[in-house]
């Protein structure tokens, strides 16, 4: 391998991880939500809200506040979703899509220069207003884990990233552990498989579902924050570009396991970063649209392959998408 191709591989891996983290954080959250039997199609909109929140709050109060506020905003949207889908038992698909449109619309509004400027001014008058009009915010700094980051090829990809990349990996491990090793996780998974049975066993089905939707949505909010301050700190409308929906399909690809979501997310992160690199190398330079389709095409192809491999019987949580009511 030539030095040039070696650094190309290293660059691809690095951007695979940094692009993949968007998917990772969102799909770990969605794994938790769906394991409890609720499908949250709203994460696209919640990510957009997280992104716009992090844009404004970073300018006003800095990164940490931005991340926490994005999580909080996500949680509030999650609460709304849970109220509609768990308490009122509305169709989860409809609720999710409504939340997506709400989030996309509201974030687009908040991101316009005038609104962003006013928001910034009211939050922290000390910050110069023009910063909001520039639609930019400082990127999260890289935190290099010195000893390991020197390892060739994977070292830089994994250990020379910003703090949210590490947090994303940690959340995958943490939520895998909670789901599959703890009492809470067992209750949560039982609610997603058979809520009536969990109910008779004394599990509070409604509380579990509320919590699962809220936690998943908070993570979607953080994923949006990462998308902006950790990945592409320049605000444009439709910044998320359906990444929330890709994260949803990655949940299926990783068969509802946060650990497998790591591999799935980084794989798709790789595909996404390839689409920026391939045109540079000649192929597709004139028709970038074709290459921009790549992640979506690959999503469909992978789902088809999984469906074929499992003969159409993807082991989804048995009660996924089904509202629960005690009377039935």
């Amino acid at each position: 391998m030539t030095l040039e191709s070696l650094s190309f591989v290293e660059a691809i891996l690095t951007s695979a991880v940094s692009a993949g983290t968007i998917y990772l954080i969102a799909s770990v959250g969605e794994c938790v939500t769906e394991r409890a039997g609720v499908i949250n199609l709203g994460i696209e909109g919640i990510m957009a809200m997280g992104a716009v929140t992090s844009f404004i709050i970073t300018l006003a109060y800095g990164h940490l506040a931005a991340i926490l506020t994005a999580a909080l905003v996500g949680a509030v949207f999650g609460l709304l979703h849970a109220f509609l889908s768990v308490s009122l038992r509305l169709n989860q698909i409809v609720v999710g899509l409504a939340i997506t449109w709400l989030g996309l619309g509201l974030s687009a509004f908040m991101g316009t220069p005038e609104v962003a400027r006013d928001l910034l001014k009211s939050l922290n008058p000390a910050v110069p207003e023009y910063l909001a009009e520039l639609k930019q915010a400082p990127r999260l700094p890289e935190v290099r884990v010195e000893l390991i980051a020197g390892v060739p090829i994977v070292g830089r990809a994994l250990f020379s990233q910003n703090v949210l990349v590490y947090a994303g990996l940690a959340s995958a491990l943490l939520f895998w552990f909670i789901l599959f090793r703890t009492r809470w996780g067992l209750s949560l998974r039982s609610v997603g498989e058979n809520p009536a049975l969990a109910d008779t066993a004394g599990v509070n089905v409604f509380a579990v579902r509320y919590l699962a939707v809220i936690v998943g949505s908070a993570l979607a909010g953080v994923a949006g924050a990462y998308l902006f301050i950790g990945y592409q700190p320049f605000w444009v409308e439709n910044l998320t570009r359906s990444r929330g929906f890709i994260a949803l399909s990655l949940v299926i690809l990783s068969s509802w396991s946060p650990l497998r979501a790591i591999a799935a997310s980084f794989l798709f992160g790789g595909v996404e970063s390839l689409q920026f690199r391939i045109p540079l190398r000649g192929f597709g330079a004139e028709t970038p649209q074709l290459i921009m389709m790549l992640p979506y095409v690959i999503t469909i192809v992978t789902l088809v392959l999984i469906s074929l491999a499992s003969r159409g019987r993807i082991p989804a949580p048995a009660a996924l998408g089904k509202p629960y009511s005690r009377e039935e």
Partner: protein, 525 residues
């Protein structure tokens, strides 16, 4: 059946009964399910609670398990009056119930199912310790159960053991088993009876809710019989006779009215209607569920398919009905090769299929009765022209179905889902038979879940078809029914047809051996 296997020490009633239910009344809209019922359970006894479907046994036990609150009556547990508001209250008092349909999470392991929301589990449960605890209990009862196995991979008998484990780890010593043998093989049933006996020896009390007389007679110490919400008889099993119980159970209205003589007539006339040759069918799990099945059904005979569930019977009839494509082999219907043909073509060639669980697969519950009839006829003239349904014609035929097949309903406009199981089954049969004249009827578990009278009516319809020259292929879980109705009995085991036994040679013992071991016994020459 397992009488000689089990030594019976007899009940040891201590001074205070474990459970005393006095004057229990429970009303549902339009029906009194329990009408002043007294029921007593002693320590160390197996108590059979006998009765037909709808007699009120399950209601009574659901009251004891805290699922229903009684409208009147007193419950004392170990002498203390109690109010049971939920199953959790019951469990706390040591009362546990195993339902007929298992309440398990198939995707989870045995240990996860057993310890779901178990008190004292700790935030990070010590799974290995819990697993060995389950192994210990399992070995006490002689079960071979892997605590790490996924419940979805277990046999019905093993799933039942998981249900029992759930109760045992929570310290239940009053165990209510609702029709526990309905899904078990004869061998698993023996195993369960041994377990029950062992539990009784340990001082636990077991209530066996059943409608099978032979079971009550063979395993219980005491038998209590319910009919129409009341106790009609309660005595030590030793002092009861089968005749006495069966008369008390059905209330004598059916005895002598069974139309048996009618059913014995009409031998096969010789013309084959269905021929299977070397038919192999894939199951849902991706392994062959039916292997090289050869079978001929003649007009004017009933062929019963016996087998423990999950041995390929369902896949076999689904392949015949065109719902499942065969992998190999051929299906000939009235001389035409119909391998892989669509259900509609099969129907037009003279096949009628009665699916299992009529309420689920045979009707659309949300639609009215006449709309459900339309589903079958609307494709054909005179019920439709150029795709436009003639609802008047449909209503006429629906009225005919309802009256000729005695579907008990106020109107053909009623929701089909509001009908009882027996009425649904008569609606399905009526819909299929009123509008077409089949040469072959394939019926998958046509009497499952029906009460005695409704089952009897279905059986009469089947024998009437036979005498009219229709070939009938029938699946049933009820060996007595198969023996009673069939001219020939096909036994399936592991996906193969392991034997065909003629009417005269078949005995429950012979079929039981063939069903559970797959050997074609010598008698089936």
């Amino acid at each position: 059946m397992a009488e000689d296997l089990l030594e019976r020490p007899g009940p040891s009633p201590t001074s205070i009964p474990k459970v005393e239910m006095r004057g229990i009344v429970k009303r549902f809209p339009g029906v009194v399910a329990n009408d002043g019922v007294d029921f007593t359970i002693y320590a160390g006894e197996i108590h059979a609670l006998l009765g037909e479907n709808g007699a009120g046994k399950t209601t009574l036990m659901n009251i004891l398990y805290g699922i229903y609150t009684p409208d009147a009556g007193v419950i004392r547990v170990r002498g203390v009056p109690v109010r049971l508001r939920s199953p959790r209250d019951a469990i706390r008092l040591g009362i546990g119930m195993v339902h007929q349909d298992f309440r398990l999470i198939e995707a989870h392991t045995v240990v996860e199912n057993v310890f779901l929301n178990y008190d004292g589990l700790g935030f990070i449960p010590k799974w290995s310790a819990l697993e060995s605890r389950l192994e210990e209990i399992a070995s006490n009862y002689g079960w071979r159960l892997d605590p790490r196995a996924r419940v979805g991979d277990l046999s019905p008998g093993e799933k039942q053991q998981v249900e029992l484990l759930k109760l045992l780890v929570r310290g239940a010593d009053i165990l209510l088993l609702d029709e526990p043998t309905s899904v078990l093989t004869p061998i698993e049933t023996k195993m369960l009876f041994k377990t029950m006996r062992r539990m009784a020896e340990e001082g636990k009390s077991i209530v066996l809710i059943t409608h099978k007389l032979s079971e009550a007679m063979s395993v219980s110490d005491r038998v209590t019989l319910m009919r129409r919400g009341k106790i009609v008889l309660s005595k030590p099993t030793k002092e009861a006779t089968i005749e006495e119980l069966s008369t008390a159970m059905v209330g004598a209205q059916l005895i002598g009215d069974a139309g048996l003589e009618e059913r014995q007539s009409a031998p096969a006339d010789g013309a084959p209607t269905l021929q299977l040759s070397a038919l192999s069918v894939m199951g849902d799990e991706g392994v062959l569920a039916v292997k090289d099945a050869d079978l001929t059904v003649y007009r004017g005979e009933i062929v019963g398919v016996a087998g423990v569930s999950g041995n390929g019977q369902t896949e076999l009839v689904e392949a015949i009905a065109g719902l499942r494509k065969p992998v190999r082999g051929r299906i000939i219907l009235n001389g035409a090769d119909v391998t892989g043909a669509s259900p509609r073509r099969l129907m037009e060639l003279g096949l009628t299929y009665i699916p299992p669980e009529g309420k689920k697969w045979g009707i659309v519950p949300e639609l009215s009765i006449y709309e459900n009839v339309a589903l079958r006829v609307a494709r054909y003239a005179p019920y439709s022209r150029l795709g436009v349904i003639n609802w008047r014609k449909v209503a006429e035929v629906a009225e005919k179905v309802v009256s000729e097949f005695r579907v008990d309903t106020a109107s053909i406009k009623s929701r089909a889902g509001s009908l009882s199981g027996g009425n649904v089954q008569r609606l399905i049969l009526g819909r299929e038979l009123t509008t077409s004249k089949p040469s072959l009827l394939v019926a998958a578990y046509p009497t499952k879940g029906l009460d005695i009278a409704a089952s009897e009516q279905v059986r009469r319809i089947l024998s009437k078809l036979r005498s009219e020259g229709v070939g009938v292929l029938m699946l049933s879980e009820d060996l007595d029914e198969i023996l009673e109705l069939s001219d020939r009995i096909v036994v399936m085991y592991g996906g193969r047809i392991v034997g065909v036994v003629g009417r005269g040679e078949a005995t429950p013992e012979l079929l039981g051996v063939m069903m559970s071991r797959g050997v074609a016994a010598s008698a089936s020459a």
